[in-house]
């Protein structure tokens, strides 16, 4: 006897996903640290075993602070972070202030696109890293698909920072987020979920960046002479 639609759905619940439903990812997640964002991310946080593509028009918008809670969580559980081809030198004093333990950061400086991809692949394959963050200005669809397939079998978070213009290219990453600054408000970031598992979400999410207090406090800083011996 043929099964009815509801029977089929009940039986293959794990394998059928309805377009209007929320993507209930079975993969373990790590909270992003931002309630508003967690609420909209499938599974309720950054998903392991998947690529997360973060598109940004330019560096210096707060992209590290966006990831800082997850990275802090990672290093607290003694897991390593791999940075593949960051655009600038990470300034560890700032990272440490965000709670990220700099001892667990490994940076790879490669410049050729093929080497970046190789480094990312090796990082994802290796069991050594809890998080892999790569800067990938150009990547073919095949390369993205390969990275996503590799990520499926790795229990780590994989973030790819890509230029905002890449939003028009198709991508195998199941989660794509466009970052943009909030005008006139330097302590917030607005996020457009371009793609996620589950129902589309069109409105931007506005999240306050951590350490806003530090910035507002520093605005009141008087010119001070820091003695060189302290």
């Amino acid at each position: 006897m043929p099964l009815s639609l509801s029977q089929i759905e009940a039986r293959f619940r794990n394998r059928i996903w309805r377009g209007d439903a929320w993507g209930a990812a079975a993969d373990p997640v790590i909270s992003s640290g931002f309630q508003g964002l967690d609420k909209e991310l499938p599974g309720g946080g950054w998903s392991t075993r998947n690529l997360t593509e973060l598109l940004l028009p330019t560096e210096g918008l707060g992209e590290i602070r966006l990831l800082s809670y997850a990275l802090e969580e990672m290093t607290r559980s003694e897991r390593n972070i791999l940075l593949v081809a960051p655009p600038y030198i990470p300034y560890m004093h700032a990272w440490e202030h965000l709670g990220i333990d700099g001892r667990h950061i490994v940076m790879v400086r490669v410049y050729k696109p093929a080497e970046r991809l190789w480094a990312l692949e090796q990082g994802i394959r290796s069991a050594a890293f809890g998080t892999i963050i790569g800067w990938l200005p150009e990547a073919s669809q095949q390369a993205m698909r390969k990275l996503q397939i590799l990520s499926r079998s790795a229990a780590s978070l994989v973030f790819l920072f890509r230029p905002a213009r890449a939003r028009f290219e198709p991508s195998a990453a199941p989660l794509r987020i466009l970052l943009s600054p909030v005008r006139g408000h330097s302590h917030a970031l607005s996020l457009y979920l371009l793609k996620r598992r589950g129902a589309p979400f069109v409105l931007p999410i506005r999240i306050p960046l951590p350490q806003a207090a530090v910035f507002s406090r520093s605005a009141e800083l008087k010119p001070a002479l820091i003695p060189s011996y302290c």
């Binding site: 030198i89 560890m92 965000l98 490994v106 790879v108 400086r109 490669v110 050594a128 330097s186 010119p223």
Partner: protein, 506 residues
């Protein structure tokens, strides 16, 4: 006791053949002297295809195929090939005895570790076959029994004589396999004895009187009725293997197969010593001539963490080999275990733990630096200095990475969080243009906070005196900029220094 015997039926051919790169193997015949005639003892497939047959006199073989490559049988070289096979097999059991043209391994202690008899036998065969030797194998509760079964198996097969099967299999073996029966074969066959069972049925005292004590003794050892002590192979103190290549090799890719074999041998030797290697060297010896002065190229590999895993060692060697320029044709390879450390690899863990994560980090670093150079992968260390350029250090990985990456202490001397620091630093500060008194980066900048004076470094020549500001541009970038503050120049009327961009708040 459980024994696996490996018999190499084509040993005298294999040791010649395996020194050629696989694609370049010519037609080879190995000759042996029989009385005053030289005969072909073994011929490889290309030679057989051209009509050369085993047992043929050399003269007629050359008449059939004049370009035949002829090698005289060399028991010394065969012994070396056997020894190398034993090295490779040592990974699976320390108890190995060398036989005339094969080896016998006692494996009862290794069954559990290597996943049962079937798996162990497969791995053992694979590893020894990878040494370039054809083999047949026999499994039995006695050493001599296993050896007889291996000899009777056809090439590439295994006869499993475990348990009940053993005596039945042994009974059916022809008498000709028994070593002590060799001088008396004709007589034994003449009295109608074909198999071991037939021989067993004869009165023992009569057999001993006619054919010597050795024959019944060998039978007893085979059936397990008498003890059968073996002389275990003893590994030398140091590991150094050389392999002469036939022909000159100019392509690094062709060296991979022999290199792999040598690495496997080293890992077997390491397993016997319960050790792991922390540095090894691979030397390519070049054909010497007056025209080319290079005698050898040495590849020295230092591991950040000791290892005895052939796959990992081979990976490192391959990456190094790919980056090595072969300046002249290679005629001999040499592998030496330079530094040995006690203890093998970590446990085989089901779930990743701290230990395995550290190990895989070290392996990642090694793999990476051997492919892209050690400067491509770094850690970052916080240094107590107020000058941003000096306040952290890129730490090269490479040797001793384990210590630096996992054991170094967290630096508590970081700058207090009251002064915000950007997540990104420029490699060198970028001088900014100024429009109407305001610094410009993409657009005129709005100063949000500051100044913060950093004045340091007067104790060495790189003194700085800067006023730092946090600024924002129209794109929403948060920037860390500074203006040089120079009291000396101030006096001269040049009030404001230049603006520089040093970092971005990521």
């Amino acid at each position: 006791m459980l024994w696996i015997a490996l018999y190499f039926p084509a040993l005298s051919l294999d040791w010649v053949e395996r020194r050629f790169p696989e694609a370049l193997i010519p037609a080879i015949g190995v000759t042996v002297r029989k009385g005053n005639q030289i005969c072909i003892q073994q011929a490889n497939k290309p030679a057989q295809a051209r009509g050369v047959m085993e047992g043929q006199p050399l003269a007629s073989a050359l008449a059939v195929f004049p370009d035949l490559v002829i090698m005289e049988q060399d028991s010394h070289e065969e012994g070396k090939a056997l020894q190398q096979a034993v090295y490779a097999a040592l990974r699976f059991t320390p108890n190995i005895a060398i036989q005339n043209s094969g080896l016998i391994a006692e494996v009862s202690g290794s069954l559990k570790l290597f996943g049962g008899l079937k798996k162990l036998c497969q791995s053992l065969n694979r590893v020894v076959t990878a040494q370039g030797l054809q083999l047949s194998a026999g499994i039995a509760p006695t050493a001599t029994g296993a050896w007889l079964l291996a000899r009777s198996a056809s090439s590439g097969t295994v006869i499993n004589g475990k348990g009940e099967e053993f005596r039945i299999l042994l009974d059916a073996l022809p008498v000709g396999f028994l070593e002590s029966a060799q001088p008396h074969l004709e007589v034994i066959r003449g009295i109608g004895c074909k198999t071991l069972a037939d021989l067993q049925r004869l009165p023992r005292s009569g057999v001993a009187r006619r054919f010597g004590q050795n024959l019944p003794a060998e039978l007893d050892r085979a059936y397990g009725d008498a003890p059968d002590p073996q002389k275990w192979f003893e590994a030398p103190e140091d590991f150094q293997q050389k392999m002469k290549m036939m022909g000159l090799i100019e392509n690094a890719g062709l060296l991979l197969v022999p290199a792999q074999r040598m690495v496997e041998q080293m890992c077997g030797w390491l397993a016997l010593r319960h050790a792991a290697v922390s540095a090894f060297s691979f030397v390519l010896h070049h054909e010497y001539s007056l025209r080319q002065p290079h005698k050898f190229t040495s590849i020295n590999i230092h591991l950040s963490e000791q290892s005895s895993d052939p796959a990992h060692l081979m990976l490192l060697l391959r990456e190094h080999l790919e980056r090595t320029k072969i300046v002249a044709p290679v005629c001999e390879l040499e592998l030496t275990a330079d530094e040995i450390a006690a203890g093998a690899d970590g446990n085989l863990e089901l779930f990743p733990t701290m230990q395995s994560e550290t190990t895989s980090l070290n392996r990642f670093i090694e793999k990476f630096s051997s492919r892209l150079g050690p400067e491509a992968i770094t850690g970052l260390k916080v240094v107590s200095d107020h000058r941003p350029e000096y306040s952290q250090r890129l730490e090269l990985s490479g040797r001793g990475a384990l210590n630096r990456f996992s054991k170094r202490g967290r630096n508590s001397q970081i700058i207090p969080p009251e002064s915000p620091r950007p997540a990104w630093l420029m490699e060198i500060p970028l001088e900014l243009k100024v429009q109407r008194g305001r610094p410009v980066y993409e657009s005129p900048l709005k100063l949000l906070a500051g100044p913060e004076r950093i004045e340091a470094g007067w104790w060495n020549d790189d003194a700085i005196a800067r006023d730092y500001f946090i600024a924002e541009n129209d794109q929403g970038q948060l920037l860390w900029i500074y203006r040089e503050h120079n009291p000396v120049e101030k006096d001269k009327g040049n009030k404001d220094g230049n603006w520089y961009l040093q970092g971005l708040f990521g």
